[in-house]
Subunit: 280 residues, 2 copies
């Protein structure tokens, strides 16, 4: 049981983690996708780290967090479930528990496929390791949106026949030859006779199971209990507090400006507010 | 004429300066006192600069600002005067002009002596270089509050007879022998017959002029035009904007938490808001 689970491994999450550790809180930080900072070729205006690539910057900051005792897992957080005065989280195939949560996932940019949401757990899965075995010997589809999806597809191909769809352009050169590739873009999902249909421009194809492998979860799936506004943005009070007790947000997820310095400030303030709440 | 004058050389001011430079704005940053950060023996929770002294951190950040073209002056800003759509500032003995101002002076901690405010310019001065000559051959007092006050007093002693009072403990070992030292703490100032009386527990002493030499100016003197609340705190809108157009505040001056990460975030956001205003 950790004091705080931080979802996201960018500047906001790391800043929060450092401050929490300075105040003696145990911290689990989990992230899976390459955030905005990691893609920055050169950052000049973050005080104290002149002329540095985003990649080098985030590596240094994560190392600092690790040195201060932050536990860091490179793992997709699929679900954070409020359970009374604590939270349970699914990190890939593992379960973790924490008293509080800071969401610092960056700009939300996961758009669900039409029909996807209501089929999760009913033939649609986000975790090859967790659910692959259910489809052993069957006919499954992978809808991939990042490089690691290809790797997961290769694992699934050891269990079942796999057809690979590409949701967003990414590296698929490592896919095993026995995997079929569909050139068609998935447009939506439906269920029919216990199977899942992937709809494309050319019609639809039926599978026993469909794995959607993206670098992050949509917030509406990660934590559907959070109150959002009509545009799907998480509602906040005093900038950092959400509708759920001991759940804060920080960084780009809050809105612009999308700047490292601002994110780092956010993480610090959110952590301090949370510490006050936890110590009350 | 600069685009922006930043008063204060700490993390908030430097962060604002870096972002302003990245957007092509010319920046003059002026500071005089040792801020809160410089006194920190060790900072652990600022992302990217692990295990560093406050002194080393601020030196590195200022060097980064200088490299990006920020003009930095170690000079007491005595007054920032709004003049239509620009500002004039007195930096020690120099005049500087800017289109906008960011105040990032740190926690305000200058308490004026009773009677001081209304005697400024009428026998009470904050600048030995500026006003020393007016008292040539006379009898003056220096009320010192930092090490550099002793140096200024030595300069004044070349012009007039000087009595040195200590407002706050500091290094006075370098004072010239011809300077008289008063062991008494100044409690207030009054005017009588064209002279200034320094009131102490033991009564009062009269001088032709009184120089009060502190490491920073009270905000009420630096920019009395700013709207404040009943406690003297600068009023803000959207956190960073003050009652004066193109004057923003950032960092500890805004209130707690007094944290580097938060200050750096502030400076970044204040700068971006200001850039938008200046470009409109």
């Amino acid at each position: 049981m950790y004091d705080v689970l931080i979802v996201g491994g960018g500047p906001a999450g790391c800043s929060a983690a450092l401050t929490l550790r300075m105040r003696g809180k145990s911290v689990l930080m989990a992230y899976s996708d390459r955030g905005a900072l990691e893609k920055a070729a050169l950052v000049e205006n973050y005080p104290g780290m002149p002329h540095i690539s985003g990649r080098d910057m985030i590596d240094a900051i994560r190392a600092q967090a690790r040195d201060l005792g932050v536990e860091i897992k490179e793992s997709l957080v699929q679900r954070v479930l409020p359970m009374g005065d604590m939270f349970s989280a699914m990190l890939g195939n593992e379960l973790a528990q924490a008293r509080a949560v800071i969401l610092a996932t960056g700009i939300p940019r996961i758009a669900l496929l039409p029909g996807e949401e209501k089929l999760v757990g009913m033939g649609v899965s986000y975790c090859a390791t967790c659910d692959g075995m259910f489809y052993k010997g069957g006919n499954i589809a992978v809808i991939g949106a990042w490089n690691e999806a290809a790797e997961e597809a290769n694992f699934l191909a050891t269990l079942a026949h796999v057809t690979y769809y590409t949701e967003k352009p990414h590296e698929t050169g490592t896919l095993k030859p026995e995997i079929d590739r569909s050139p068609l873009k998935p447009l939506g999902l439906t269920a029919e006779g216990g199977r899942i249909l992937i709809e494309t421009e050319a019609g639809s194809d039926a599978y026993d199971g469909v794995f959607i492998l993206r670098p992050a979860m949509a917030l509406s799936q990660l934590m559907p209990e959070l109150e959002t506004d009509e545009k799907g943005k998480i509602r906040t009070w005093d900038q950092y507090r959400t509708s759920l007790n001991n759940v804060m947000i920080a960084g780009d997820l809050q809105g612009p400006p999308y700047q490292i310095a601002k994110a780092v400030g956010d993480g610090n303030i959110a952590a301090l507010q949370l510490i006050r709440q936890l110590d009350e």
